[in-house]
């Protein structure tokens, strides 16, 4: 396999990985949108959906589900 092909395969794999991580991060960004309108302060503790946390762990390759 040529170096060129290997590099392009790595590039495609990295792009897929970015999509996966962005998808895992998206629910938290959406949560931020929701809390913004509720007058919550920056330092206030907030509830984060457990499913999204599990998905985050899975995306990071930690023991997820």
């Amino acid at each position: 396999m040529s170096d060129n092909l290997v590099a392009r395969l790595r590039e495609a794999a990295a792009a897929d990985r970015i999509k996966e991580l962005e998808a895992a991060l998206k629910p938290f960004a959406d949560e931020a949108d929701e809390y913004d309108g509720l007058g919550v302060q920056d330092r206030d503790k907030i509830f984060v959906p457990l499913a999204a946390c599990r998905q985050a762990r899975k995306a990071l390759g930690e023991c997820g589900e």
Partner: protein, 139 residues
């Protein structure tokens, strides 16, 4: 090319005719004159055909030389094209490698942003906003 001019000359002079008084004179018959005319005509046509053949041969040689030059040019262009294709291939590899580097940096950034959520520690709104920022959405 065989020269028939002597034969033509003899045909025009004709054969010797003897008369009753013993005198003789060379006269050509109509058939001999016709034959001489035909031979002359054919000789001229043959000469023209030979000249034409020589011209065509020269033209063919010129064409062959042109074709040879064109083939050399094609070979040279093929070598250049192959070299360019090789260069392009190397460039594509370099670009892909560069892209991999950029992607890896982005992956590290995303993983770092995701890590607090994976740890399920107590979150604040600023953590959520950080997630939004990393995704390139509003801060």
């Amino acid at each position: 090319m065989t020269d028939y001019s002597d034969l033509v000359k003899r045909l025009r002079v004709g054969t010797t005719e003897k008369f009753r008084d013993g005198s003789s004179e060379t006269v050509s018959t109509a058939l001999e004159r016709e034959a001489a005319d035909a031979i002359e005509l054919l000789q001229r046509e043959l000469k023209c055909a030979n000249e034409l053949w020589e011209q065509q041969k020269e033209l063919a040689l010129e064409y062959l030389a042109d074709i040879e030059k064109a083939n050399e040019r094609i070979e040279k262009l093929e070598r250049i094209a192959q070299k360019q294709a090789d260069n392009l291939n190397v460039l594509r590899g370099s670009i892909a490698n560069y892209q991999v580097g950029v992607h890896e940096a982005r992956i590290a950034e995303l993983e770092a942003a995701l890590k607090p959520f994976a740890d399920c520690k107590v979150m604040t709104l600023s953590d959520l906003r950080q997630a939004r920022k990393v995704l390139g959405e509003k801060e």
